[in-house]
């Protein structure tokens, strides 16, 4: 039996349409960390887009009945509409390079026939250390330990 997906049908469709239209984005934050095995909890999936002004994004969102809401004084940039509630938009990552730099530090996680770019655990840890907010301080030791465990598993797999 296939593993259950954390996405509803409409959420999954949104991600698939973004991938199909070759929108350049990656999953970042704690959701990216959990995809790589870190034992942390999160309430949303953070997406980092290379260029939010790209017409491909609005076309992809339109296709699934969602839309991009520009930032205002009280609200960060966000996605609204069907299947978009789960996703948060990230416009900058503390302590990291540009999108083009960091996409090289992504791992590919298969999603159906496509591959989802997910920022590596090392870089997520680097961004949390740089951001150093109260909530980041809670997760830094967990991410550090998870990184030690995943690296040990990778080394073990290489030896075999």
């Amino acid at each position: 039996m296939a593993a259950p997906l954390p996405f509803s049908e409409s959420e999954l469709r949104l991600v698939q349409v973004l991938l199909k239209r070759k929108v350049r984005f990656m999953v970042v934050g704690l959701s990216a960390a959990t995809l790589q095995g870190a034992p942390v909890v999160t309430q949303d999936v953070d997406l980092w887009f290379e260029n939010l002004g790209e017409p491909k994004i609005s076309r992809a969102l339109q296709e699934v009945g969602a839309t991009y809401v520009s930032p205002s004084i009280n609200n960060p940039p966000m996605l609204a509409g069907k299947g978009a509630e789960l996703f948060d938009i990230v416009i900058r990552m503390d302590g990291l390079g540009t999108f083009a730099d960091e996409i090289k530090n992504c791992v590919d996680i298969p999603l159906g026939r496509q591959k989802l770019k997910v920022l590596s655990l090392e870089r997520i840890l680097a961004s949390k250390i740089a951001a150093n907010r109260a909530k980041d301080k809670l997760t830094i030791p967990v991410l550090r330990d998870a990184l030690a465990a995943t690296q040990s598993i990778k080394r073990r797999a290489k030896k075999k």
Partner: protein, 69 residues
């Protein structure tokens, strides 16, 4: 409705637990400052497919948010 509980293969489960414990021990030997539970939970999660890990995390994260309200 009563849920049927699948019988557990105790020998297999205890082999798995011993293997896990040995791997945790090895990692802790290389990273003495690491937390045993974090290492153990990571190793357990690495046995699951990525999207199942995310699903667990989202379910727990949302439950925590509900309890906080």
């Amino acid at each position: 409705m009563k849920r049927r509980v699948q019988p557990i293969d105790a020998a297999k489960a205890s082999r798995w637990a011993r293997r896990l414990s040995a791997r945790v021990g090895k990692i802790l030997a290389a990273h003495p400052d690491a937390d045993r539970d974090n290492i153990r939970h990571t190793l357990i999660l690495l046995e699951q497919p990525p999207f199942e890990r995310l699903q667990r995390s989202l379910i727990r994260g949302r439950a925590t948010a509900i309890f906080r309200k």
